[in-house]
Symmetry: C2
Subunit: 445 residues, 2 copies
Amino acid sequence: MAGPLVVVGGNAGGMTAAAEARRGAPDLEIVVLERGEHVSYATCGIPYLVAGEVASEDDLVHHDPASFMRERGIEVRTDAGVAAIDPEARVVTTADGRRQPYGALVIATGARPVRPDIPGIDLPGVVSLRHLPSARGPRRILAAASDPRVVLIGSGPIGVEMAEAALALGARVTIAESRPYAVPALGEEPAARVARALSEAHVEVRTRARVQGIERAGETLEVVIDGDRVPADLVVLGTGVVPEAGLAREAGCATGEAGAIAVDRRGRTSVEGIWAAGDCAVAHHRVLGRPVWIPLATTATAQGRIVGRDVTGRPGRFPGVLGSWVSRFGEVAFGATGIDAAAAAAEGFAPRVVTREGSDRSAYMPGARDVLVRLVWDEATGRLLGGQMAGSGEVSTRLHTVSTAISAGMTIGELAACDFGYAPPLSPLRDPVELAAAAAVGDAA
Amino acid sequence: MAGPLVVVGGNAGGMTAAAEARRGAPDLEIVVLERGEHVSYATCGIPYLVAGEVASEDDLVHHDPASFMRERGIEVRTDAGVAAIDPEARVVTTADGRRQPYGALVIATGARPVRPDIPGIDLPGVVSLRHLPSARGPRRILAAASDPRVVLIGSGPIGVEMAEAALALGARVTIAESRPYAVPALGEEPAARVARALSEAHVEVRTRARVQGIERAGETLEVVIDGDRVPADLVVLGTGVVPEAGLAREAGCATGEAGAIAVDRRGRTSVEGIWAAGDCAVAHHRVLGRPVWIPLATTATAQGRIVGRDVTGRPGRFPGVLGSWVSRFGEVAFGATGIDAAAAAAEGFAPRVVTREGSDRSAYMPGARDVLVRLVWDEATGRLLGGQMAGSGEVSTRLHTVSTAISAGMTIGELAACDFGYAPPLSPLRDPVELAAAAAVGDAA
């Protein structure tokens, strides 16, 4: 490669690409340009920073910029937003006008929160979470209020995690969800399990809700939801993100799903010498067999590794994602992997769905907890397509099992026939995952 | 079928076969003959019954004999040991001389504890655990002693679970293990994790130990271990089990591994009209591709389902076992699935082993716990062969994931490439299973 490796964006995708490139090319000059003040931090830890469960921003920073230079010889410049890319000259220009030549360029600009078109959306006290400093406002506002009220717009994982954080800080919480039920990505029964936990914690969930505006009301705010005025010291937007693909687009990179940067399975964009990784880029989906845009830290790091190898002459092939995610509200964990029934039908599968609730250990053992398992499979082939779960028992690693089965191309009958260890205090004679799969194939005796 | 279905043995394998046969044949006469006082109970719950964590024997009984008749029309006779089988006449004779004709016979006689050839092994206070009543003696002895001492011979899962139970009842505990380290089935590093937990709980573990005899010493016992006299109010044998195959052998059924009843993948013995299921029988192993004898409740119920179907004209094919098991000592869970490196080498594989310790959630979250993952794979093909784990974090369902990957025939690289959900309080960015697999394929950056 003639010239340095330049990485635009210093979080999961970018820093992983840089670190992996260093492993393959000990002498390569590597420069990371990050527009914010931190690199290599745990975005997904922000709700726990707000809650105070994580004590300080520093705890969420895996590596500081100086340590990258010291330990890996990677130059990291913060407050270094990139204004333009010249792919012919192979030069990027930062916001302060500095020109940085590159031999290879990795774009890892991430995604940014959607700010819906609601009157009052730009009022102080209406926040999105994305970078570490975005935890500061919510903490300050909730600490200052004597009887804090929080309105969360959207009930995806971030909305629900922020509900938990707000409750931990003594707030009363309202969630406004435009769809018929909270956490719609889970499907009906697992979502109902989360709804029960929200209700038991006295979180008000307003479904099919239309947020009509946000207004000042003295020192605080009021959110107008379906004509009702809901007081709020803090409004948190959990209305999704969009890819930060503008810079790449202006450089000529083709875009794909949701406007994210199109990349092949080696992480290369349509422009010679430019790769992309992370939330700004599409990713190959294992079940759908084509690119999707599902921004997740796991995907970003996996893409970063592939890109870091490819730019240093060790081409790989991105294995693909299943969009696996997991989240928590209080004692109830929930998550999903693969595709749901609606997506399966849209894709031409003949989806069938089975749902079973089981115990996380032998029911006679003290402390037994519930796990609700929903599996989606294709009736024509038996192929397992997706899984969604919720419960007070262990959910995240049970989703690992379903994800593994989907990745392997297993049928639901093959999943039912797996041999899972059993011990009364740890895992029941038939695991909830096995029970659900067995029920699907009429083998539930 | 001419004549009733008779099932000999009323626990996991037998009762599952009976219940499954009922599903397939609503009008079939079904008779279960059980020599003990209970049927359908959780043998694996016995250590928790001893500990008092489970309050009563009834809690471990899934169904009483009368309920089988009432709810499923299955006649269950307890205290009905079978003395002989006449496969020509298709009649079994019980110990009290009653003759019971059968159309089909399922032998599910289980296994019995090994009583090693040690002087004093038959003294009162030296016990094996197998049936629910066997919990009574240990509870009574430990309750009566003012400073109870327990010696456990053998450090398999039952030995370690009984160590936990004895500690819960205030006992001082010594484990005598003949092999170089405790819980040898785990392999060295996971076994060392359990050894650390045992040590922290002040359990004395004597390895490479030779138990030379057990002697009376006033009101209690002394166990002579390598010349030392270790006092004991209670001695528990955790020295394994052997199949109860004598009855079947006398009826002409061929036996296989470890003297267990040979069955095909439909559960049929070599004698027409006789099936077998559970701890008395062999089972097909998925990795080895041949029958093995690994007595486990999970295998017994899976075999019972296959047999119950086959006897009622719905032949299936037993999918095979991986010998998956899991156990616990205090806060540390441990277990294994598939085969270890020694077995793999003996089988002609070129085994490689990787071990990694990871956190069960993001390390910055409060309460993060350790999970040690050891994976065995075949260097020639990459095929995953086995996994062993130990740690204070979630182990049992992580073993489910490895078991699923082995069942699917995944390579270790394919396991490394699985897409696992991540949330800081639930599951780390890279799961310990993924980390171990990634390290194996040089992908651990």
